[in-house]
Structures are given as structure tokens and as C-alpha cells.
Symmetry: C3
Subunit: 357 residues, 3 copies
């Protein structure tokens, strides 16, 4: 009994409750299990030892084929973003407690996180402080997203990338490390820059995650390298209230703590997770993503939404999937939103949703 960071806690029990989450990854020809901070150090070492992929040595002509950079469709525009990967200190529970259960979450809590920092044009300084998730990138059908990316996490000493979901891209803009078959955007070394160009096609409409897909993607995504893309129909109204909510555990390998924190947007416990505040009459859109290796089940008290014409109030969301929960607000009060997996919910994957009349 006691709080999870209590050193006397039966760690085995947490594992049995499905909330001790080791990470498994493959790096540089090795398959690793990351169960604590020291394992993470080994993964970082292994990935730093990788050499930059040479021009594809594979004999398949597809691996050396050239592709033109996509342009906006007639009437579309390029939407430019400057984003830098940066490390920083992150506290998953700035209040020091969970406002719902009253649980105290003792120090030390902070750890070295990694995130996509929104920058001013030309990388002329950060816009706002570090956020996890990274900025919401938005475009309309026919536009391109032109993302100038810099790997500013030089202290981490390893390549990272941006891999988008939902938008269309040619292989160079896939942002995935493929060993000897890696294309231009799949290995952005520390200090390097690369511009990704992605197309908002008619079948890109929706909310999508982007995340690291470099040679250490498992660990670096869990450290915070993820964000959202929202593509709308041309001229479609922007919701009055719109938020991206990423459900996932912070594992011991990332935090150095004894067990996982159940998080929303890298924060744990009501009051630390996003406190949402909307108003009766508003068009509300919550884009909900899975960002760990578990399946989650998103529930909002006092509200229902439609999926395929069927009313629901609890909905499964898997890793890297997204659901958009959208409704016209009509029910004032203080509500909970949470994952309905009870061990996740009571472990901190919950937050306040306040609706003013």
C-alpha cells in the first residue's frame, strides 16, 4: 500500500495490475528491453553508435528513385511551421497531487523529456515554453504542410525525425529510419535541419498524430516526441473548443521512477492533466490519441457523441489511432473525463472538464 513511488511498494503487484510498462525496442541490430533509467542509457548508447545511413545500397530501384516535392493544389497554400526537437525538464504533476483522489505525488518527479518545440519563422526563438504534445499543425484540403525541422537536442546525441499520420507524403518525407534504406527525412542528426512537405488530400481529413520514427523511436516518442495534425475540409468551421489529448503511460525507463504514471499529455492526475473549460452552446472537438503500447477507452461524464450514427460515451483508442469526440455542449457543471480502464483511471489518466452555463 502507499503511493507508487514508495520504495516499499510491491512492484510485482503493479506489474500484475498491468501498469508496470517495460519498453521493447530494436536498435542497431539488437533487441532491448528497457525497464529502468539505466536501460534507457544503454539504448541511447546503442543508437549513438549507429552511423549515418549511406546512400541506399539495396539493389531495388525503388530505393534510389527520385520524387518531386509536392506543391499545394490550385487554391491551396503552403502552411509553414518551424519546429525544433529539444530536451528539457518535465514535471508530470506540477500540483504535486491528484485533485480527484487526493493522492500526493511526491518529489522527485521531474525527468529529462524531449519535445517538439514550436519556433518563430527561421528558428528565430521559441514560441512559448516546451509543450507535450508538440504544436497542433493544421491545414485544409489542398494545402501542404511545410515543416522546417531542426534536431536541437544536441545533448541527446542521436538522430530523430518527424513521421506524420494521415497526410500524403513521398518516401523522402516519411520520416522513418530504415537502416541502409533510409531516405532523406529518416535520419536528422543532432544540429541538422530538414524540411518535410506533406499534402492535405481529401482523405487526410481528420486528426492524426505525428511522432519520432528515427532509430530510437520507441524511447524518444515515450519521452515526449509527439504532436497532432488536424486537416479540415476547405473552409470548414474551426470548432469553438478544440484540444488534442494523448493517452499513454510514462514508463520507468523514461522517468527513472519505480512504476509507470498513467498520463494524458504527459501529465498525471486531475489538475495536472489538461483542465478543459468550455461553455454551453460551443462546438466542442476533443481529438483523442493513444500514445503508448496499450489500448485505452475514452469516457466523458455527462456527454455522448456519435460514431457511425450510433450514440456512444466510451470509445476504444489504440496506439497511434485517433478518435474525435465532437458534440454541441449543452450540459453545464464539473465533469470527469478519463480512460475507463480502471487501473489507468485510478493511476492518473483522468482530468476535469468544466462547462460554464
Amino acid at each position: 500500500m502507499g503511493f507508487p513511488t514508495d520504495p516499499k511498494l510491491p512492484r510485482r503487484g503493479f506489474l500484475q495490475a498491468g501498469v508496470g510498462t517495460a519498453l521493447l525496442c530494436s536498435i542497431g541490430g539488437k533487441t532491448l528491453v528497457l525497464d529502468n533509467a539505466s536501460d534507457a542509457d544503454k539504448a541511447d548508447e546503442a543508437v549513438r553508435a549507429l552511423r549515418r545511413p549511406r546512400a541506399a545500397t539495396a539493389t531495388d530501384p525503388l530505393d534510389t528513385m527520385k520524387f518531386p516535392t509536392p506543391q499545394p493544389q490550385p487554391g491551396g497554400v503552403p502552411r509553414e511551421y518551424w519546429i525544433e526537437a529539444r530536451t528539457h525538464t518535465w514535471d508530470p504533476a506540477p500540483l504535486g497531487r491528484d485533485e480527484w483522489h487526493g493522492t500526493v505525488i511526491p518529489k522527485p518527479r521531474s525527468f529529462k523529456a524531449l519535445s517538439y518545440q514550436l519556433m518563430a519563422p527561421g528558428f528565430a526563438g521559441a514560441i512559448g515554453g516546451p509543450t507535450i504534445p508538440g504544436p497542433m499543425l493544421t491545414a485544409e484540403v489542398g494545402d501542404t504542410l511545410v515543416v522546417h525541422f531542426r534536431n536541437g537536442a544536441t545533448d541527446l546525441g542521436q538522430a530523430v525525425t518527424m513521421h506524420p499520420h494521415g497526410v500524403r507524403y513521398t518516401p523522402d518525407y516519411d520520416g522513418v529510419y530504415l537502416g541502409a534504406r533510409t531516405r532523406a527525412g529518416g535520419y536528422i542528426a543532432p544540429g541538422e535541419e530538414f524540411t518535410y512537405t506533406w499534402e492535405a488530400t481529401p482523405d487526410s481529413v481528420g486528426a492524426w498524430p505525428y511522432h519520432d520514427h528515427g532509430p530510437n523511436h520507441m524511447l524518444n516518442t515515450m519521452r515526449g516526441l509527439y504532436g497532432s495534425i488536424v486537416i479540415r475540409e476547405k473552409g470548414a468551421p474551426v470548432p469553438d473548443f478544440e484540444r488534442a489529448l494523448f493517452l499513454g503511460a510514462l514508463s520507468p525507463a523514461v522517468t527513472g521512477r519505480r512504476r509507470a504514471f498513467q498520463c494524458i499529455n504527459h501529465r498525471t492526475g486531475a489538475g495536472n492533466t489538461p483542465t478543459l473549460r468550455a461553455k454551453v452552446g460551443q462546438d466542442v472537438a476533443l481529438h483523442v490519441f493513444g500514445i503508448d503500447d496499450f489500448f485505452h477507452d475514452f469516457h466523458v461524464h455527462g456527454h455522448r457523441w456519435q460514431r457511425g450514427g450510433v450514440p456512444i460515451d466510451t470509445e476504444t483508442v489504440g496506439p497511434a489511432e485517433s478518435i474525435t469526440v465532437r458534440f454541441r455542449e449543452d450540459n453545464p457543471g464539473r465533469w470527469l473525463y478519463h480512460c475507463h480502464v480502471l487501473a489507468h483511471q485510478d493511476g492518473g489518466m483522468a482530468g476535469w472538464y468544466l462547462v460554464d452555463p
Copy 2:
């Protein structure tokens, strides 16, 4: 090898097979892992030590806002129910064996369960014996569900609630314990009564769970505090054959046994789980719910149903989600229905579906 309750069984093996299910919960500022009956005792102690929430001390005006009790829409009616939470002894396998696999399920099997008991108006005595799930509450769009609830589980010595899905409710009728922010329906102490009023709105049509969401919700829901709500369109025909089926494991913390029982409606193994018996030509509706922390996959032999116009015969259902499997019966015989997670299926999450010509 041997039956799960065999004391020589390698418990670790069951954990590895994903069927040893500790519970994680947060009570009174502590996060607990419940792995056996003694852990459950500690959770009960912790929750008994909680004081009744005072009038909200939070400074947010939403926490003290008053809401009128909803009334039926024109043409709608109030549907009144009397329900009492009660403890009782529950045997998850009254036959003593699984009729499909022939497995003997030795005594002792019974444990102290907790359920929503349907009562006569004015709490004038129980209607029928204890059932898990609790009664199916039904209404049509425009009606209200008026549920007079009494916490009759005085021996348990702790507050419980009723939290509904799918229906509309104001904060007082949410039935959720929120610490200092708790509203009227979120803490029904032993011996107390409270009347919940919930609205059947057009987007409430469907099948929904209700369950405890009090300060010990994880443990008490697993003990049996759950049931179903079915909301129909005004005048919609009632299916000829309609059942609620809750898929979930009974964990060692609840039963005091060594490992989980894989259950449907708190019963394990064909012959103990509901034996359904329908007839060719009938309109059959099976409302299937997840009621533990796992995802399940509902399959009926010899039958298919539609989801979004697509035929399926196996469908995922997550915690507190529901699916309605509905078809016109046309295939006589003895059939199995089961979760298609094989460890769940072979662990007892299966039953007979008999169709007469």
C-alpha cells in the same frame, strides 16, 4: 497443470497468460494494488476511514451551482425503479464444472459479492433473488429514469453509488465520488437513500452499463455492482429475445481464490454462464459489455451481425463499452458464444446459445 485453484499451480504462469488480474485503485490519497483477499480488506478499511465530503470547498462556482431535477419530455413518463445495494454469497459456478471443457471447479468457490437488488416500490421487499448484473433499466426517448437507490450493504460499511452511462444527467445525478467536490449522488453512505433522475434523450438510444463510482469503485464494481440500461426510440419494438452479457474476470482480490475466473455475468464456464435459448424467427438482441480492465472479443457460432453495414461475427468490446448484437434468428442448434481471446475462452468466458426450430 491442473485446475486453477490447485494450490500447486504455477501462479506465475497464469500471470504470463494474462489471466492473473490484480486491481489497482486510488482511495483516500493512496494508490493500492489489490492482489488477494487481504489486500481487499485493506481497501475496505481505507475507504471506511473517509469522511463524508463537506459542501464543496472548491472556489469554482460550478461546484456549488444548483440544477433543477429533469422532468420527462411531453409524451414521456417517469420510469421508477427501487434498487438496493446488498452483499450476498455468490457462487461463480453453481454446476461445479464447465460443461464445454468438462473441467471440475472445486469448492470453495463462493465469496461475498455485492449487487444491485431490484426491490418492490417503496423498498417493500426484494423482487427475486440477487442477480449479477443488476436489473435492466428500460425507458424510451423522452422518459426519465427515476431510480430510488438505497445502500443496504451496511455490513460493508462504505459509501457506494450508481453511475449511469448513456443517459443525460445533471452533476448531482452523476453518481461519482469526487473528494471535496462530490455532489449529492456521489456518496450514498450505508443505510442512506438517494433518488437519481436520468433523462432518455434522442442520443441515449442504445444499451449502456451502470456501475458503482463511489470511493471504492474499482473493487465494488468487480464485486458485482453493475447492471444495464436500455433506451429505445419512442414506440420501438422490444426484441423477442434480449439479454445483457457482461464480460469480465473475477480477480483474486474479490474471490479470495488464487487466480481470476473468466466470467460472463459473474459466472464461469458453459452451463454456469447464461444458457440462452431462442427460437427461429425471433428478433434477438444481445447487449454485450466489458466490465473489467481487459478488451474482449465477442463471437457467436453460426451467426453474423452488421456493424455500419458490414457483416461481422466477432467484435471488440472494451471496458464499459457496449455492443448490441442483433439478428433475426434463422439457424437452429446448439451453439457456443464466447470471448475469442483464447485464454479467456478456455478460462470460462463462454456459454451455450440454444436455438429451437
Copy 3:
């Protein structure tokens, strides 16, 4: 650190990462946990000790009811297949490495697998080598599938069956072992033959798995006894490019190795899993199935598809469920397809999808 078969690997770590997969099954009145090759031997022993089910001794008239063998609808035809269950040696990684991560997968890798072998009419010899999955059985609405099945795995010494999803069947053709209630197709002893007749009804349209559902179904399905059924509307066009992809782990009980291999079609790691090669302009259909006890999340780089009119690029598929990912190919290059559960993806559940211009 190191490759999973490294004997020094911390096995506990793999369990924590959710990739050590013991099997739980019930055989002959016993519930068994299969964690290694010796456990599998015990399951085989237990199932060999079963006697052939007698004519049903149950008193329910449904258990002895006779059903006529279904015939094709007017305009439909019987589609005949000859299939034999056979054991053979199977290498999950013929290349000896994972082409994406560069991981070496050392010998010994091969194990005794079991599969559905496509045979010439009258069982006049095998058509092609052993494949896992078994052959794709196809029919149009109104047809019957007439599957002549022989249990040729005499060395295994136990009954197996074929249980289909999606198609309509009478109880004798359900292919499920039910103990004393077993019908004709539910127990095909070594050396025996049985002809299953299944109907392609209007609500059978789609892709479906078939698999063993005999007395040792858990273990034998995991050994490789599974395949696909595709039912099309009458006259519907066959996709230009069509593949069945089964996502599932090969557990230690099956392979005798220390931990699970994360597989697609019983092969692990890009280059060993199916390398798909399509062409711009083609109508592409990927039928994706879950075939173990976990939920998976199928992602294809560079592509999106529709579900209920909503574009997606990552989709949940549970045990024995299927999804059909279908699109008009328009994006040349080398792409990855993989499960988006990161521990599965990095554990080998990934493959190449090559698109020629």
C-alpha cells in the same frame, strides 16, 4: 540486452514488455498453462488421452437433431477444396535477420509447425509447399464452400478440425469440439476425412479466418492451423492485389525458444514477413486478421483507407477479427507496414510494401 534468444536475456523483462506469451487452455477437464515446449508436450499427451465423443448423451433434443447438408442457391455453385492438416518444419525467419532493424535472428529457429495444406482433388498430392496461413478459400454469395478435409498429422496423434468464420453452417459443420455434445465435424481423428459444407450468404461478404477448434485448439491454432475465407458479392471484381495478413505472436510453447516472436503469417521481421509488391493504379486489398490473444493496430506508411466513410491509417484488429484495408494505389516507393504496438513492431511484426510506379 541482446537478441531475444540470447540465454542471458532477462526473460522477466520481456514479460513486462508484454511479449512473453504463455498460453492458457482447457483440455480433458484440466486447465493448463503452456509456457515452454515441455508444457506443450503435456497438452499433447492430455489431448491424446481423450476418447472420441460418443453420440450425444445430453438430453437436449437439439443435440441429436438432424440437419440437411446445404446446397448452393440458384445460380450458385459448390466450390470444392481438398485440404490436409500436416506437420512440417517451419523457419520463422528464413533470411536469418530482420531487414529493417538489422537484427540477426540466430539458429536454431525452426520448429514443428502444423498447417492446412492445399491438395489436388481427391487428395492426389500437395499443391505447392506448406504455407501458413493455409489457402485462401473464395466463393461468391449463393455458392457453397465444400471443403474435403483430412487430418494427415498422424504424428501428432490428436483430433483437429476446421472452424470457419463468416459463412453459414449447420451444427455438424461448425467444426468445434464440444465434449459429449460434439457433432460430426468437431473431432477429425488422425487419418480421418470429413467434408465440411458452408454457405456463402449475403451477410457472409467479407474476409474471415478459419482455424482449428478441436480439443487442442489453442495450441494447434498457434502452431499454424489457420487460413482465410473471402466471400464476394456475385460477380464482384477481384482486387488486382490481394493478400491475407495474420498478426500474432509465436509463443515459447510452440517454438521452444525463450520468448515470443512477433509475426505476420508466422514469419518475423521485415524480409521474412510477406514483402508485398503492388503497382500504381491497382485496386489493393489487404485482409488483416488477429491470430493470437492480443489486440493489434495495423498501419501502412504512405497510405490511408476508409472505415465508415472516415479516413484512417491505423486500425485495431482483435483476435479472430478481420479488417480489409482497401485502396487504389497511388504512391510509389518502399513503405513499411506494421503493428503500431511498438513492442510488436520492434519485435518483428512489420514488413515491406513496395509500390512500383
